[in-house]
Amino acid sequence: MTDVPHCTAAEMLAILSARQLADGQVVFAGVGIPLLAATLAQRLRCPGLTILFEGGVIGAFVEPGKLPPSTNDQRCTKRANMVLGSADVLLLLQRGYVDVGFMGGAQIDQYGNLNSSFIGDPAAPRTRLPGTGGGNDISSLTNMIVAMKHERRRFVKAVDFITSPGFIRGNRTRAESGLPAGGMFRVITELAVFGFDDESRRMKVLALNPGVSREQVQDNTGFELIFDDPLSMTAPPTDHELGTLRHLDPERLFTA
């Protein structure tokens, strides 16, 4: 996938995702790569990053080597600023206190809609996926960053089922659906960093990961991509980034 052999795809995802976060932001992070990447950003460049977890945690400060197996575990609360009800932490999104949501994704389409509910017909699904969790709420109410594996079957023209809304059918359809705020901001994969066109709201390649070609990205994508012009090239992970990441997840719980 990449020219950086010392780094797994999951590690690449975590490091590039962490770079998308800015100090002082309030980020609502899902379990797995998002939790890990937000924690990485906090340790690298963003000591004032406030991490929220769905279990009901504000200002998490996860301990190295003690990654929680879900965002509802007690480990999420260690040295946090505040613990509250899990509906209440989601209400912070609705009230507008959250700058960015950060989740993983199973299937995404050209408008940034995510599916984590059904493969096939919902009435008789080929696969029943786990469902939205807080994903629908987060993506409905704030700006989203999604970190996910880049495979053609995961990057589809239209998802089978919109679990977590991106820009719905593009243009102004998101706002017209009753979602005036937020929307898909960035998608991070092991191949590239994506944004969305301001007008059409179609997915756009902003930067290629080190050693990745345009063709490689397009070939692994089930719809036609827009490429930013000029197109950036992402700097490779540094030893400091990778070292810090591995210190956080020495057992490769989320970076296998």
């Binding site: 009901g56 509906a87 939205t132 679990t163 659906s177």
Partner: protein, 294 residues
């Protein structure tokens, strides 16, 4: 009260709200007892469902589960047990957003028929839920979603401590348990320990559930095992991993075997804990208490 007697408050066909979330403060001992008593046709609701949902479907105790997310845990991917029962059409998994579940319990707890939210709009999650109503706000003209109150017949909630009347104190993450307790028509509490009412009255601002919501109190140490109980024990991951390997390898026979050996055969909850093993219980306790070490 005993687990056995408390479980009789749950009748076949009832709607049952389940406290905790994912692998945390799950009322596992009470679920275990309901399986042993072969309760049937329950309609369950929980914020996020983990292996508790596997057991409820796999034992045929529940016909339907209302939740926002249903898998064994992020570490193990999809639940093959959930997939088997839902995809073959026998069981139903009604999906709402996490906040919607929370607001449905909250509406129930507040004594109103609905609450307004701003999520689920525009998604196919909403299209599957005609019982929620899109609504034009009479104050602002915005589009909102009204989600209906969820008032379970009975709630099962596990807490760190409560008094004999049911005044319950919950440490750490509360999840949706307070709203659930207020919303449910009856509440069965399992508790790591029963403390005196005098002790509750010494720190009334730590009490989260008032006794008049509560219909039964059962002292069950390790009552959330193999899940975690904040400040008392973390999840028992070796047991969980063995469980997942077994049921995902064969969601029918694997589950049948697990239920036989871990639910039906033990003479008591303590016997079940023995199957987890004292070493893992002690390790989990050590990790659980460590939240207070610094």
């Amino acid at each position: 009260m005993s687990l056995h007697d408390a479980a009789t408050l749950v009748q076949d066909g009832m709607s049952v709200g389940i406290g905790g979330s994912t692998m945390s403060r799950t009322p596992m001992a009470m679920i275990w007892e309901l399986i042993r008593q072969q309760r049937r046709h329950l309609s369950c609701a929980r914020s996020i469902v983990s292996t508790d949902g596997d057991l409820l479907f796999g034992s045929d105790v529940a016909d339907e589960i209302t939740t926002s997310w249903f898998a064994q845990g992020i570490l193990w991917g999809l639940s093959k047990v959930m997939r088997h029962h839902v995809e073959t059409g026998g069981k139903r998994f009604y999906e709402w957003s996490h906040m919607a579940i929370g607001m449905r319990f909250r509406a129930g707890g507040m004594g109103v028929p609905f609450l307004p939210i701003r999520s689920m709009l525009g998604s196919d999650v909403l299209r599957q839920r005609p019982e929620a109503k899109t609504f034009e706000c009479p104050f602002t003209g915005e589009t909102l979603l009204l989600v209906p109150a969820l008032n379970p017949d009975v709630a099962l909630i596990h807490v760190q401590r409560c008094d004999p009347y049911g005044n319950a104190q919950i440490d750490g993450l509360q999840f949706m348990d307070i709203d659930l307790a207020m919303a449910a028509d009856r509440v069965i509490l399992t508790t790591e320990r029963i403390v005196s009412n005098e002790q509750i009255r010494r720190a009334p601002d730590q009490t989260k559930i008032p006794f008049f919501c509560v219909d039964a109190v059962v002292e069950v140490p390790f009552g959330a095992a193999p899940h975690e109980c904040f400040g008392v024990y973390e999840p028992m991951m070796r047991h969980m991993e063995a469980y997942v390997a077994k049921v995902n390898a064969d969601p029918v026979e694997g589950m049948r075997d697990y239920l036989a050996r871990h639910v039906y055969e033990p003479g008591s909850w303590t016997d079940f804990l023995s199957l987890i093993g004292l070493d893992e219980l002690l390790e989990a306790s050590n990790r659980g208490r460590s939240i207070y070490n610094d």
